[in-house]
């Protein structure tokens, strides 16, 4: 356990050093990055044993906070999440070194590195915490450090706005978790996770706690309709932070729900249905909103909502399998969900780093002003293409493997169960729709940004990012292929954690492992087959063309002689048919200025798709809260002695209440 604690402490110490060195941008960056890299590398080494053999390491230290205890442990479930946290943080830190240096003229780089490292350490401590108080404190540190990272460019009004939205959403979520732990603690007499599981809860209470956890953790994870902070905060943050937040931090919400499932005893079937419902809503809404976006990072943020939906589908299948006593189904569902956590961390981090690389080179996030970047930025473009295909869930890449497990979970529940299996079967169809829309969404994102010809002047002069930014992207792209082709290895890595949540005994786990491994080997075979055939067909084509004339000409445009970049299909026009079909759900807005007269001098068309949950749900609600609170304004008049009086009166009232209660007894 000691190496892990050092791994947690090192980045924080380095971060503090970076603050002290704030006046020297390069020194501050070096302190921040090197300590983060060292801490993450040490952390990765320390969890190897638990990942390989499932050995649990634990440590308890006294802590003087009421109900608190510094109780930490690493089991299979924590280890998988630690792998994701340390792995992605390491790469994001390396990438961030050069990325943030671009701001050194007008910003101190000490604080951003301090908060970055604090975020990394707090996420790692969070998945190790085994005490409710420790968990909540870490949760809060994580929320606040990420808030300061989101508001890095706080001189911009929209960034400040995004920061506030995030802060409010994070604390609404925390409020639910506070109640969750308070109720759980009062029932079991302790905030110790190990004791939560020992005391069986009444079914109604367990269900109430489950709902609290789904709302509290779901706000962090970004379940629809709790996702509204996500498309605001992720584009606002620096790109390596977006990668970390979207790839990793959202998953702490997933971790929370999975950990909760180990406390609450055997789940009823409707918990599974609830998660499946949430998954379908988040998946479909997430991808549809992503499809309608014009801003690359906003598109990626919405797409995280979709992937969180897919993870929720896996968890739903897992819970449903548990409730029916179908261990195979439960293990498949949870394994798919956890593997998708890993996969999404890999490709979403890569996509955000790619978007950051584009932003770094062009200063542009609007897709319709980019184009043709693959020629200028071959590595960024190539890795972005791999990630785009992986996130669309097609073989031979990693996204397919986790979606395969989830679909297999739902299909395995189907045989011989009659109408009761209708809900799990919806997952198959839902994933089909989500997959089809994801292909549309990511062919659009990659095609408009990297293919065709440049649409604006600064895109023409774009340059490839430095090697230290490209290396993390290349590693992540390699992982996308590796998990696809080495599927048995990846599934083996998450299987112990899945079995742990499913509460499966070792015998049924072993029998499942055997069948699952042989199936997954076939998947890996398909992936390898595709790659081999691609190589073979490329060779054949090369041989065919080797001796022949290969020339270049202008793109065929019906004989039109002067094609211009602005004639290309844009992100809006590409998405238009699908946005039109789903316009009832999306509510897209069009601002059209028609050409008028015989010699029109101006015409324009502008479309946007704002978040309907934000605009028609939360905004009116918070405006109403605001109006309602105005009537209490007289209480808050800015006079300190009156505030002291309030405190005094409250204390007296509490004292009377307490004494009265005692007297009554």
């Amino acid at each position: 356990m000691l190496p892990l604690l050092v791994a947690l402490g090192l980045p924080v110490v380095g971060g503090a050093l970076a603050v002290a060195l704030g006046r020297f941008p390069r020194a501050a960056t070096a302190a921040g990055v090197l300590s983060a890299v060292a801490g993450c590398a040490l952390g990765l080494v320390s969890i190897g044993d638990t990942l390989a053999t499932g050995t649990v390491i634990a440590l308890r230290l006294p802590w003087r906070v009421p109900y608190g205890e510094f109780s930490v442990a690493v089991d299979s479930l924590s280890a998988v999440f630690l792998l994701v946290i340390f792995g992605v943080s390491l790469l994001a830190a390396v990438y961030g070194a050069r990325y943030l240096l671009a701001y050194r003229q007008h910003k101190s780089l000490g604080a951003p590195w301090f908060f970055f490292n604090l975020l990394v350490s707090s996420m790692a401590l969070l998945v190790m915490a085994r005490n409710g108080m420790l968990f909540l404190v870490t949760w809060e540190i994580m929320a606040i450090s990420s808030f300061f990272l989101v508001t890095f460019e706080h001189e911009k009004a929209d960034v400040r706005n995004a920061g506030w939205t995030y802060l409010v959403a994070a604390h609404v979520g925390t409020a639910f978790l506070l109640v969750f732990f308070a109720v759980l603690g009062s029932q079991t007499g302790s905030l110790d996770f190990d004791r939560f599981a020992l005391r069986p809860l009444a079914p109604a209470l367990a269900s109430a706690l489950f709902l609290l956890a789904v709302v509290g953790f779901g706000t962090k994870a970004g379940f629809v309709p709790l996702h509204v902070w996500l498309p605001e905060a992720h584009p606002a943050a620096p790109s390596h932070v977006s990668a970390l937040m979207s790839g990793v931090m959202l998953k702490t919400g997933i971790y929370g729900i999975l950990r909760t499932l180990t406390f609450l005893g055997p789940p009823p079937a409707w918990w599974g249905f609830l998660l499946i419902g949430i998954g379908l809503t988040s998946g479909v809404f997430g991808v549809l909103f992503a499809l309608a976006q014009h801003d690359l990072k906003r598109l990626l943020a919405y797409h995280s909502v979709e992937n969180i939906g897919i993870i929720a589908l896996g968890m739903g299948i897992g819970v449903w399998g548990m409730s029916q006593g179908q261990t195979t189904v439960a293990i498949l569902g949870f394994a798919g969900a956890i593997l998708h956590v890993v996969n999404h961390a890999v490709f979403k981090a890569l996509l955000f780093l790619g978007a950051g690389s584009v932003l770094h080179a062009t200063g542009e996030r609007k897709m319709d002003r980019l184009g043709g970047l693959l020629k200028k930025m071959p590595v960024t473009g190539g890795t972005f293409l791999i990630a785009a295909a992986a996130i669309s869930g097609v073989p031979p890449l990693n996204g397919f493997v986790s979606e395969f497990l989830i679909i297999m979970g739902s299909l395995s529940s189907a045989t011989g169960n009659g109408i009761a299996t209708a809900a799990p079967l919806l997952v198959v169809v839902g994933l089909g729709l989500i997959g089809g829309l994801a292909v549309a969404c990511f062919t659009k994102a990659f095609g408009v940004v990297f293919l065709g010809s440049p649409r604006t002047e600064h895109t023409v002069h774009a340059h490839e990012s430095p090697a230290s930014m490209l290396l993390p992207m290349l590693i992540l792209a390699g992982l996308c292929v590796f998990i696809g082709v080495g599927a048995p290895l990846a599934v083996g890595l998450v299987l112990p954690a899945a079995a742990q949540i499913a509460g499966a005994d070792s015998q049924s786990v072993m029998s499942n492992v055997a069948t699952l491994t042989s199936t997954v080997q076939h998947i890996a075979g398909v992936a390898a087959g595709v790659l081999a055939l691609v190589a073979l067909l490329a060779l054949v084509r090369w041989l065919l063309l080797a001796q022949r004339t290969v020339t270049t000409a202008v793109t065929w445009d019906c004989g039109y002689e002067r094609p211009a970049p602005c004639m290309q299909y844009t992100s809006s026009s590409f998405a238009q048919p699908l946005v039109e079909i789903f316009s009832r759900l999306l509510g897209p807005r069009r601002h059209l200025e028609r050409p008028t007269g015989y010699f029109p001098h101006s015409a324009s068309l502008h479309t946007e798709t704002p978040d309907i949950f934000l605009n028609q749900g939360y905004r009116p609600l918070f405006e109403w809260v605001n109006l309602a609170s105005i009537s209490l304004r007289w209480l808050q008049n800015g006079r300190v002695h009156l505030y002291l009086l309030y405190i005094f009166v409250t204390l007296v009232l509490l004292l009377i209440w307490q004494l009265g209660l005692r007297g009554g007894v």
Partner: protein
């Protein structure tokens, strides 16, 4: 695997382009023309493989990779597709998911290759293809789901193998008919046939699949033509697998029956192309949603019956 079975697996790769020839001959017969020879698709592919290439100066390696990845993906899909009762070259639980995934991979690369040209025509084709296939995908999954429910098997070979005459005579017959209808509509959409798309149209604005591959030529276009034939083959094989419940016990007879079935599917596609016009683009989603509706109905019936 038995040697006769192997003959049919290889036969899939050899015979696939005939389906295109049969469709064209059927259309010619309806129009009162002689039509191109039955083996015209082979001549086309052969000729294309002999040619050099002209590339748009806008394009990158993605444009060149599109046909290669597309053909590689569909070749693996053919290996997973059962030749009727003879079975597939490769079968494992969940191969239907891999099947759908491989077609997704093919589509992904066809679309990005089209966008690489920077032409508004190809962008338009890509956009429409993305729209059509996004709605066709759940319908395909619903159709396959029905087969899982009816057969209790998670592999395509197991599903097709378990459909016998008795399956059709029981209540599951209606369910199978609905599933076949669903998959047939998906076949029309995914293979760019009328009423969704017209492979013979001459105007770029009205094309979907053809306009996406407008700038490809030479061996690349040869790959694309062959991949299109294989894609038509895998979907037709699914239809024949459902609709042909006869199992003789002899591999040769089973395989022969399967090939006859494939011929009938191609002729039916040709008849549809000759007897109706294509739908307006705005109505295509309705058709595909209807396909999904049929599939959903079949799943509901299968769940109640099961």
């Amino acid at each position: 695997m038995r040697p006769e079975a192997l003959v049919f697996q290889v036969g899939a790769f050899v015979l696939a382009p005939v389906l295109l020839g049969v469709i064209n001959r059927t259309k010619a017969a309806f129009a009162g023309r002689t039509g191109a020879p039955l083996l015209q698709p082979y001549y086309d592919i052969w000729k294309l493989l002999q040619k050099g290439a002209v590339y748009s100066s806008t394009t990158t390696w993605v444009f060149r990779a599109g046909p290669i990845v597309g053909l590689a993906a569909v070749i693996v899909a053919v290996l997973l597709t059962p030749i009727g009762k003879v079975g597939a070259a490769v079968a494992f639980p969940g191969d239907l998911v891999a099947f759908a995934g491989l077609l997704g991979l093919m589509r992904f690369f066809t679309i990005v290759a089209a966008m690489d040209t920077g032409s508004s025509f190809e962008g338009m084709g890509a956009s429409r293809e993305a729209m059509i296939s996004a709605i066709a995908e759940p319908a395909l999954f619903l159709g396959l789901l029905v087969l899982v429910l009816v057969s209790g098997s998670l592999s395509l070979t197991g599903m097709m193998g378990s459909i016998v005459v008795a399956t059709w005579l029981r209540t599951t017959g209606a369910v199978l008919a609905l599933a076949a209808a669903t998959i047939f509509l998906v076949l029309l959409a995914e293979n760019a046939r009328i009423p969704v798309d017209d492979p013979n149209t001459h105007l770029e604005l009205t094309m979907v699949h053809e306009v996406m591959v407008l700038d490809h030529g030479g061996p690349d276009f040869g790959y694309i033509t062959y991949a299109a034939a294989l894609k038509l083959w895998v979907f037709s094989a699914l239809i024949v697998g459902i609709l042909l419940p006869v199992q003789t016990g002899s591999v040769l007879a089973d395989g022969g029956l399967f090939l006859a079935g494939m011929l009938v599917v191609a002729i039916v596609v040709g008849v549809i192309e000759s007897s109706m016009a294509r739908l307006r683009m705005l109505h295509v989603p309705h058709l595909l949603t209807a396909a999904g509706g049929l599939g959903a109905l079949a799943v509901a019936l299968a769940l109640v019956a099961g």
